[in-house]
């Protein structure tokens, strides 16, 4: 079978899977979504406040910290997988938690990938705000809790971009979750690891079908986030 036929069959198989409600594929898809969305939200939960503090506070070594965070935005997933594996393996410092080869380990690994992305883009968004905003807030006697709220609201376009980038990095990576999840059917098999497995097995049509599902999920989540971004932009310009 030629490459083109494989792709066509892949599309046909994808449609079949999508409409047949294949339980195995459904489980793999739901796990991918759960792991990547949770990792993105956790990365944001840590990345946004830390990014805000780094951007707002003046401290010794601020530029070094910012450079390190920006560098970590390009962290290779396999390196993250290796480090998390070493920590969670039975002889590792966190081995007692018995998290290796669980969805939680996959979430931890992806969170380490999403955190610097959210943090770095948050720093950049806050730093690019009009410096007079802070002065206006001071002049209006805004308490620090309100100051953070207003400044984060003002940089919401950038924060949504951070979520889009982080989710994109999480849902598409394979190296980290393969190493710490183990690709166990019905438990830790995600879309990307399944694509790799089916490709290695020569089942290209199924691999393509899973790839299409992966793209559709990424498209759906990004469509929602982009809608939020556009709505925010419209409020700014109309």
């Amino acid at each position: 079978m030629g490459g083109f036929e494989i792709i066509v069959e892949g599309f046909a198989r994808a449609l079949q899977i999508l409409f047949s409600g294949d339980q195995e594929i459904l489980g793999i898809t739901l796990l991918s979504l759960r792991v990547s969305l949770t990792a993105t939200l956790l990365g944001a939960a840590f990345g946004i406040p830390i990014g805000f503090l780094v951007a707002r506070k003046d401290f010794h070594g601020k530029s070094v910290v910012t450079t390190v965070i920006n560098t970590l935005m390009g962290l290779p997933p396999v390196v993250v997988g290796l480090v998390v594996y070493l920590f969670l393996s039975s002889s590792g410092p966190l081995g007692f938690l018995r998290l290796l080869y669980t969805p939680e380990a996959m979430i931890i690994a992806q969170m380490i990938l999403t955190f610097p992305i959210v943090c770095g883009i948050t720093i950049s968004s806050i730093l690019s705000l009009n410096p007079k905003l802070k002065e206006t807030l001071v002049s209006l006697s805004a308490p620090s809790s309100w100051e953070a709220r207003v400044l984060l609201n003002e940089s919401r376009l950038g924060l949504i971009t951070a979520l889009i980038a982080a989710f994109g990095a999480a849902i598409s990576e394979v190296g980290a979750i393969m190493m710490v999840g183990g690709n166990l059917l019905g438990y830790t098999r995600a879309l990307t690891t399944a694509i790799m497995l089916y490709t290695n097995m020569g089942e290209f049509a199924t691999a393509i079908a899973l790839g299409i599902i992966l793209l559709l999920i990424a498209f759906g989540v990004n469509l929602f986030l982009t809608y939020l971004q556009m709505r925010s932009r419209v409020r700014r310009t109309t």
């Binding site: 002049s139 207003v150 700014r236 310009t237």
Partner: protein
Amino acid sequence: MPFLECRAVDKSYDGKHALKGVTFGIEGGDLLSVVGPSGSGKTTLLRIIDGLEKADSGEVILKGKKISDEPFPHRKTIGMVFQNPVLFNTTVFNNVAYSLRFRGKKDETIRKKVDGMLKLLRLYDLRERSAPTLSGGEAQRVALARALVYDPDLLLLDEPTANLDPYNVSIIEEVLQRSNREHGTTVIVVTHNIFQAKRLARTVAFLLEGELVEIGNSAAFFESPRDPRTLSFIRGEMVY
């Protein structure tokens, strides 16, 4: 005891004096206009009174309390309007409401006060408009509403009508005068427009190269200035 007092306020930037021992006091309920050419230190003086900048030396005393060292607790009673206001990326209503939310006011109080202030500044029909879409005059009126809505004892305005059309100028001047006359708000307006100073102020101060040349009653200031430099400025002979 004066309501607001500046004692020997000095400020330099990169060795260049912005303010040189500025000393004056005003009574509560006064409407002071600070005039002077560009670069004479008017904005710096206002920023120091608002606590946005620290004087190199000297004191600012508000209602008998020295506020130049610790401005925060006192700033809640000071309103400031900048020449180029920065509005928040939300509705006109929210921009004005923020000032009251910062002070922990209840929603019902906020709604009533904000709506009243928007009506006063003829902004009520724009209350749901997104602030970044406003014209310069509308934005400046929102900034004034935001500073007045919490009933400040002292209102500071830095060139509030520079580059605005006559319609917006008249609304802003009318509201300033009403606020001063009816609520007793002490107002300090920085302007390089001596006609505006003449229209608005009861007291006028003239700053030149960081030095307070003259301060006095508006009529006396314009009709019989004591310092020849003031006379030169009023007559428009000063090149700046």
